[in-house]
Symmetry: D2
Subunit: 382 residues, 4 copies
Amino acid sequence: MVDRIRLGMVGGGKDAFIGAVHRFASRLDGEYELVAGALSSTPQKAMESGALLGLAPDRTYGDFREMAIRENRIKGGIEAVAIVTPNHMHYPVAREFLKRGIHVICDKPLTSNLADARKLAKIAHDSGALFVLTHNYTGYPMIRQAREMVAKGELGAIRVVQVEYPQDWLTEAVETTGANKQSEWRTDPARSGAGGSTGDIGTHAFNLAGFVTGLELDALAADLQSFVPGRRVDDNGHVLLRYKGGARGMLWCSQVAPGNENALRLRVFGEKGGLEWAQEDPNYLWYTPFGEPKRLLTRGGNGARDVAARLTRTPGGHPEGYIEGFANIYAEAARAIRAKKAGQPIPADVVFPTVDDGVAGVAFVDACVRSSARNAAWVRLG
Amino acid sequence: MVDRIRLGMVGGGKDAFIGAVHRFASRLDGEYELVAGALSSTPQKAMESGALLGLAPDRTYGDFREMAIRENRIKGGIEAVAIVTPNHMHYPVAREFLKRGIHVICDKPLTSNLADARKLAKIAHDSGALFVLTHNYTGYPMIRQAREMVAKGELGAIRVVQVEYPQDWLTEAVETTGANKQSEWRTDPARSGAGGSTGDIGTHAFNLAGFVTGLELDALAADLQSFVPGRRVDDNGHVLLRYKGGARGMLWCSQVAPGNENALRLRVFGEKGGLEWAQEDPNYLWYTPFGEPKRLLTRGGNGARDVAARLTRTPGGHPEGYIEGFANIYAEAARAIRAKKAGQPIPADVVFPTVDDGVAGVAFVDACVRSSARNAAWVRLG
Amino acid sequence: MVDRIRLGMVGGGKDAFIGAVHRFASRLDGEYELVAGALSSTPQKAMESGALLGLAPDRTYGDFREMAIRENRIKGGIEAVAIVTPNHMHYPVAREFLKRGIHVICDKPLTSNLADARKLAKIAHDSGALFVLTHNYTGYPMIRQAREMVAKGELGAIRVVQVEYPQDWLTEAVETTGANKQSEWRTDPARSGAGGSTGDIGTHAFNLAGFVTGLELDALAADLQSFVPGRRVDDNGHVLLRYKGGARGMLWCSQVAPGNENALRLRVFGEKGGLEWAQEDPNYLWYTPFGEPKRLLTRGGNGARDVAARLTRTPGGHPEGYIEGFANIYAEAARAIRAKKAGQPIPADVVFPTVDDGVAGVAFVDACVRSSARNAAWVRLG
Amino acid sequence: MVDRIRLGMVGGGKDAFIGAVHRFASRLDGEYELVAGALSSTPQKAMESGALLGLAPDRTYGDFREMAIRENRIKGGIEAVAIVTPNHMHYPVAREFLKRGIHVICDKPLTSNLADARKLAKIAHDSGALFVLTHNYTGYPMIRQAREMVAKGELGAIRVVQVEYPQDWLTEAVETTGANKQSEWRTDPARSGAGGSTGDIGTHAFNLAGFVTGLELDALAADLQSFVPGRRVDDNGHVLLRYKGGARGMLWCSQVAPGNENALRLRVFGEKGGLEWAQEDPNYLWYTPFGEPKRLLTRGGNGARDVAARLTRTPGGHPEGYIEGFANIYAEAARAIRAKKAGQPIPADVVFPTVDDGVAGVAFVDACVRSSARNAAWVRLG
């Protein structure tokens, strides 16, 4: 078989949602082989989870530091590690691997606070290892295409950005019932960070808007709420956006909006046209050149560009989804890792979210929290 | 034939969009007969327009004051007048008719400024005549149903209101080309008022959100823009909403969003469920009780309530639209007018937007403009 | 007021669905005034219905023959009559008015059997009066546009026609419950004709496909079913279509398809492109030139042609619906009637379904029934 | 790593669409490892394709017989083979592997003619090896759910089945241009079989309808066309369906319908309700209990059943697509293979299309061709 990239994982034990997604994504193109893991902070669960995944017992670790040390020493140790722990652990875990030159593929948000984020960025830049942040929605082909269309000026100068990310899974106080593990740490500021919905999904929305438009946020005014009594982090956020250069926008994130599963949606309007994309139907991109009929561009179909086709595995009408988009981040990372390994420059068309995007995301959450604390006053981003 | 209500019209000469709509709406149920008009401020055009509509020459007026005076005097003079002029004329025109006891059906926004609005409200209340404001979207059956569902507590306490009203017809500086009459006065603060998109469509969105939720707006923070160079009023508005009782919301109105024709959309989320409605597909109402599958309620179909059925003319699957919704306002007005005429109380289930709703709408625009001038500071309403 | 066309109505008493629709349609543009009626075959109900509509007592008839005779004699008698009775009465009623030179606007299907249809066509042609059949779906602007696009060759030679018209209101044996008047006569072969769903809605589908494509049906093979035990007419029909010139198609009509209110849908595919239109969302027309992205054409919006604009009352994004489409048939009829009255030729662009279209529709039903009786053998039309 | 099932592949060299899909599907869950292949009938291309996939040179074969013989002999030889050749090769290839006890995962249709299909079924049944046919659409979670809902009687007795599968990629004579390899063999009766669109996609539609409804087709009447001049197989098929027990249906398949990429759609109507599913938006299932509002069931969301959840990898709102559905067939096959290996019975809930489903599919194509040759006469299915 092709010489697969040896991958480790920290976090992602049985029943964890995002750990499983990273594994699907790593497997789809046959570029990685999961060979080691510290899959849980509970040693017993770590061993069980490793066994379920078929990891060798001596590569199933109860502690991530031990894993970093040993994998760095042994022949055939991991080349990259996927970090899928709660947010507050991203920094300490990533640090251990980065300083040993092991590439990091880390879930978002980058860290649970801005100080950690900045330290981590410095460590990553100094390490020589790659740092890939899985803002996975940037891996969707039609998002790549939207980004290219904006970059090529097909919409003219961007005026308005409407981005939203509503969910409904925290409509009730599920974190108090013991029935939903993820809700517990997601609503715990110590593990999740000061932002709740802003940190979990607002960062995705913020990242996606910037990724597609290429605009840099200048200032925001945020009105955050915790609607569910007793909840310790925001579960709904309304944010006004001012981008450098004059574009304006709105961002809405919510985890208390019944009827919304994972309804990330981006609309961008420029002087010459508009685009609309919805994550739950990701194979479509609406494009309206001003004064002409709306066009429904499809991934792999008529109207799809090379930039989308490159990250597509099936023809139009054969829907791809969340895992495929996620896998595209892994595929881009694989290209970068292989280039590094071969001592070659990373190909110019490789695109993935970086540690700096991660710092921007944490700065966004930080700014939202600060603004909201000051009655939605305008707050500048770093 | 049924004894129709004798209707006059001020404004709405040939080529005027909204005047024609009022005429369609007045005709649909056979409740009104247009018998007099001051259809244009240009006498020549007024006469031509009257002739086209088959008005008798002696009931075709070049001046609205003359019309009010004479119609009030003659036997069989008008019982009600539809006012479809540019905004700044609503106040002086309505005053003339109200003070003569002639019912007024007036297009929105109520006036071009808050002072006029308040004066007009007083006049209306003192007059004994009816004042019906055509926030026509409140006439859609599924909007009535949404309102009832909220009122009955089916969504629980409302937490979040997302309302938006994007259009694209002012994407370019069409008001400078001479080709689009409506754009000229709509972008002229003297005729339209200080709000551009906020006044024209933002008021509709604001009204609709309040109508459905029954919530009263406490404060707003608005960031208004005039994206088209040289434009004298806002063509895009981003507004944070705080309702009394704790609900929060966002309102977006835009006339520079390519791909949007008339895309008013309302989403309401409560503790127990959510609703979604879009003006361009008004026969549908999405309803999601939390934890259950989404349901697509249809006007006239399964899931439609009496309150919707009462304002519906055709069975489910036979789409009704903008004119029918508008006509429902006229139908409600007719019921009120007939009750008045008969010396009876207005039936309890008659619902139409009033002069007070109009004041609230102008106050909303006023607050938006003031907030935006103060860098989107929070501004209280009322 | 404009000199309105004096209209009578036969059928359409209180609670009748289609009679009310004809009245809405006749009123919308202010071209007609309903002044006489034989609204029910039950004299008592006829009088009550007339009173409700404000008809003068002496123009409220208990018998259609009496109405035809008297209206023909009196000064200011009706110029046109709308026939909205059960199918089997179309022929005898229309005959009485046609032979007195009164224009007829008749609901579909033309008659309950082919012999009547042919006799009626002869009478209509001999009469000099106009005969307008309300295949109302041909009145939708986007249908007119689709027709023009095909006629202009924008789709190339048509290859495939897929047309369907499912409903669900006869899923259960509602005709036996006494609760649904319309279902009683619609499922009674004596009043409805030999076709059930084929006659009621299959004719619409057949007519629409022919209207848009301009193709003439050569032969069909029909497999009709009566799924509800005891039902005397078909409630579901599957029909293979062979058009002259080589195009092929399928037609499905059903009144036992739960989830379908009135879901008429037409798809046409040619050598160079495809079109798709759905009655429940009539303001949209999907157009796909082969090899290009799909375009969503909207009534009144970008991509709308003159032929659609002429029959449109509001701008794009202000939805029009069933009544507006129906009213377009009345508007076309009004233009023809006024031309006749003025002794002028009917304008070339006036389009409405004629008695000949009606004969074709009844022939379609007849062919379906004959084919199905012969185990879905091919049956020639015409 | 988990002890993966050793997989070989016949066909699927570089640039082949379906071979790549099988590889994605085999990798997603980490259950298979591709270790051998006869990827092309051209030895040079076979070697190149093997190298690209990282196959060992000694497991890259130029001939499938040689591969079957050697893999059967060597230690660690393949346990299963994926056959992704043109249709006419399915039979000879499968035979070689089956008779050596190697499990077969074979693309559809089963064979290019009915005689081969029957022989193959016998060989498969006699072999003791598993035969899995990749009617991949049966792997979609919402299809499994639809099937369960029908089986549990939630729709009542099924009356009407509407299934269609339009595409547009053969709208022009692309098989004559040399630019599209797949079109060449797909339109060549010698390699594809007598059915064109019927064989390629009609079989999918036929299979899906039967899979969901559990109904067995009794007879059909087919009108097949070859619209593109010179085309040797059908590119459009219209088929009337009669199921045992009285349900009726229509099947449309087309490869000349511009605007359709891969628009497989199934609608099923019973006495008590209806279902609708579209392959291009596979995460949704419309369900309408008669007399109630439509419900939009989502994969992983509210309304999803265990039978869907079992085959789902991500929560609701995280769309899955074609590859995931395909991978579900591989996952089911893996469970069966592991059970066999362990000498245990195949778990009762393992579901995949079998060789017998394949025979039924080829019999369907055969019946379509025979019926069409006899002017769409009714033809019984064996």
